[in-house]
């Protein structure tokens, strides 16, 4: 009797180990293409050229590490496009953060005619694929270009215009997340301040916003990353190199150069990837929460 239980126990243990070994094997297999892609990027960045994953030097032998692919850092053009990328990213952080925390507060704390409609609409737009509107947004930007004063700032082929479009398309997500953050904050301090005669705006700015700092930070990081990596909207609404951001610049390099320059392209790609990876390493869980919090998630 006793031996049989030990037998089943052992068998069960073996099965369990086999089960998780299979799981680990399949998972490692599944991430292989991702790891290979990153490995190539890293190797190519520091070598003359690559065949497969091997670095190849000028004589055709394996090896040949070099830093010459990073010479693009001395080109003023790269710093201009980097600044443009940074501008779009910060514009997203400030724009989405400010506008959606205002609207989120209103929707969470106030009752007024049109509230329900506005909230349903936010949800509807959150599900709606905004990318289908790019053709029409082209005409909106062209129209803004003609408005004196606004045109040079937010019109077609300006950084402001690109940032404005990106902020607006992100608003349904931002407003919805912000409303959720405000819903979780207790009303007590706020009520006391209002009774003491503080204005709604002051309460929002001085009492409520500091309480949702973690939420704001999560949204800010998410928006920084999507602004920094943005390709489609800058590509569609800008022409020429003056207002190009890093992804658009990289795409120009990819479509123009001969295959021998792939290593320099890889270096520019890694350069663009560094801030993303830093954020990713330190804020994984925050980002994960945003994705579960209802981000539409690209594809």
């Amino acid at each position: 009797m006793e031996t049989t239980t030990i037998e089943t126990g052992r068998l069960y243990g073996l099965k369990r180990i086999l089960g998780s070994a299979t799981a680990y094997f399949l998972l490692i297999l599944s991430i292989l293409p991702i790891l290979v892609g990153y490995a190539w990027l890293l190797i190519a960045t520091f070598s003359y050229r690559t065949e497969g994953l091997f670095p190849i030097d000028a004589q055709g032998n394996i090896g040949g590490w070099t830093l010459r692919n990073w010479s693009f850092l001395t080109d003023p053009q790269i710093w201009r496009v980097t600044l443009n990328s940074l501008g779009i990213a910060l514009g997203m952080v400030v724009g989405v953060g400010f506008v959606s925390s205002l609207a989120g507060y209103g929707l969470s704390r106030m009752n007024f005619p049109g509230r329900k409609a506005f909230l349903s609409l936010t949800l509807l737009l959150h599900a709606f694929p905004s990318v289908t509107l790019l053709i029409a947004i082209f005409f909106v930007l062209k129209f803004i270009s003609k408005i004196p004063g606004l045109g040079p700032l937010f019109g077609y082929n300006t950084l402001g215009g690109v940032a404005l479009v990106m902020v607006s398309l992100e608003l349904p997500l931002g407003v919805w997340l912000m409303k959720g953050f405000f819903d979780n904050i207790s009303w007590d301090v706020e009520r006391a301040a209002l009774i003491d005669g503080a204005s709604r705006f002051r309460v929002w700015w001085e009492i409520i916003l500091p309480q949702i700092k973690p939420g704001l930070a999560a949204l800010a990081i998410f928006n920084f990353l999507s602004g920094w990596s943005a390709f489609l909207i800058p590509f569609t609404f800008t022409v020429g190199s003056k207002v190009a951001n890093l992804p658009v610049y990289l795409r120009q390099l990819m479509s123009e150069t001969a295959p021998t320059n792939w290593n320099q392209i890889a270096a520019v790609g890694l350069f663009q990837l560094i801030p993303v990876l830093i954020f990713f390493l330190f804020t994984q869980e925050l980002l994960l929460n945003i994705y579960t919090g209802g981000a539409k998630g690209g594809v």
Binding site: S20, L27, S30, I31, I34, L35, W40, L41, E51, G52, L53, V99, S100, L102, Y105, L107, S108, R109, M110, N111, F112, P113, G114, R115, K116, L123, L124, A127, F128, P129, V131, L133, I135, A136, I137, F138, F139, L164, V167, S168, F201, L225, F231, T236, P247, L250, R251, M254, A266, G269, Q272, V276, Q284, L288, Y291, T292, K296, G297, G298, V299
Partner: protein
């Protein structure tokens, strides 16, 4: 007396009304920036897209007044020589990516990563989040190199020990890579949602089944899958709409080629016709017709989703309003 009372109430009501108007104005003050931006970049574009789709607006008559051709663009779209091909491509792209990755792989990953050690599971999910977070241009750069021609291609090198002939994968199997590239980005959305759904299943259910002698497969089929059917339905519907309208990765990877319309999908056709043409001849009217059909599908599906998943229940009353 009665007059005085009536006077009092009107005065009170007037005062109350004024407070209400002020409160409403205040609330809309908070909403105004969002409302204006949403109007300018969502509502007005839908109208513009519809109106333009009824005209023959193109870069050759941009400065002239709008010339309405009514449904001609839509008729032309269905007559297009490549219409059947583009339609088939779109269906293939959505179904294969959805089935193999956005739902299929997502489910497998969620099951595997919840089966193993918690920290290890988290680690693998994080790696799978990388494609989504990598800038699209850099991500495509990696894939183009993986599928590159000999001697540069990485896939050739990895497959060489198995005796596979080296080839230019991206040119010979463009569809394989269109689906892989989109699928590796798409899988993480479902993975995250399924993982939290699986983790919220009480351990007792699974324990009880295992004590009764159920195999892993039986636990998955009879306990886990029925319990996560809502998240499954949600991811399937949500992602099919995203896929139907997405084209950024295809634009970067193949631009719809190689050759004529090999990997061109509906959304990419709309975009290319209207905004990115090789000859600088933008057919805004015609492209808008392709685009507006997608907008209509998107609107109808979004409304259905909100109804099916009862999102209306989320639109609850505000916590506290008046003092």
């Amino acid at each position: 007396m009665s007059i005085a009372v009536a006077g009092d109430t009107t005065a009170a009501r007037r005062k109350w009304d004024w407070a209400r108007v002020r409160a409403t104005l205040g609330a809309w003050g908070f909403l105004a920036p969002a409302a204006i931006l949403v109007t300018v970049f969502f509502f007005i574009p839908v109208i513009i897209l519809f109106v333009i789709s009824l005209t023959d607006l193109s870069s050759s008559n941009f400065s002239e007044p709008l010339h309405f051709v009514w449904i001609e663009n839509y008729a032309r779209l269905f007559r297009d020589r490549f219409f059947p091909k583009i339609l088939l491509n779109t269906v293939r792209y959505v179904i294969l990516t959805l089935g193999f990755f956005n739902v299929g792989m997502a489910l497998v990953l969620a099951l595997l990563t919840t089966h193993i050690n918690r920290r290890a599971g988290f680690f693998f999910r994080m790696i799978w989040l990388l494609p989504r977070i990598t800038p699209s241009v850099v991500y495509i750069l990696m894939w183009r190199r993986i599928a590159h021609q000999p001697p540069f291609g990485i896939l050739n090198q990895l497959l060489a020990p198995f005796g596979v002939e080296p080839r230019y994968w991206l040119f010979e199997q463009p569809w394989l890579f269109v689906i892989l590239v989109n699928g590796f980005v798409g899988a993480s959305f479902g993975m995250i949602i399924f993982t939290s759904a699986i983790e919220s299943i009480p351990r007792d259910y699974i324990m009880a089944a295992k004590v009764d002698g159920a195999s892993t497969w039986q636990v998955i089929r009879d306990i886990i899958l029925p319990l996560i059917r809502w998240p499954l339905l949600f991811v399937t519907t949500y992602q099919s709409l995203s896929l139907l309208t997405s084209f950024e990765y295809i634009l970067l990877l193949t631009e719809g080629g190689p050759g004529l319309y090999t990997t061109e999908v509906w959304a990419l056709t709309a975009y290319k016709r209207a905004l990115k043409t090789y000859f600088g001849h933008n057919q805004w009217g015609y492209g808008a017709a392709w685009g507006f059909i997608l907008v209509l599908i998107g609107l109808i599906l979004s409304i259905i989703y909100l109804r099916v998943f009862r999102f209306n229940e989320l639109v609850e009353e505000p916590k506290i309003d008046v003092l």
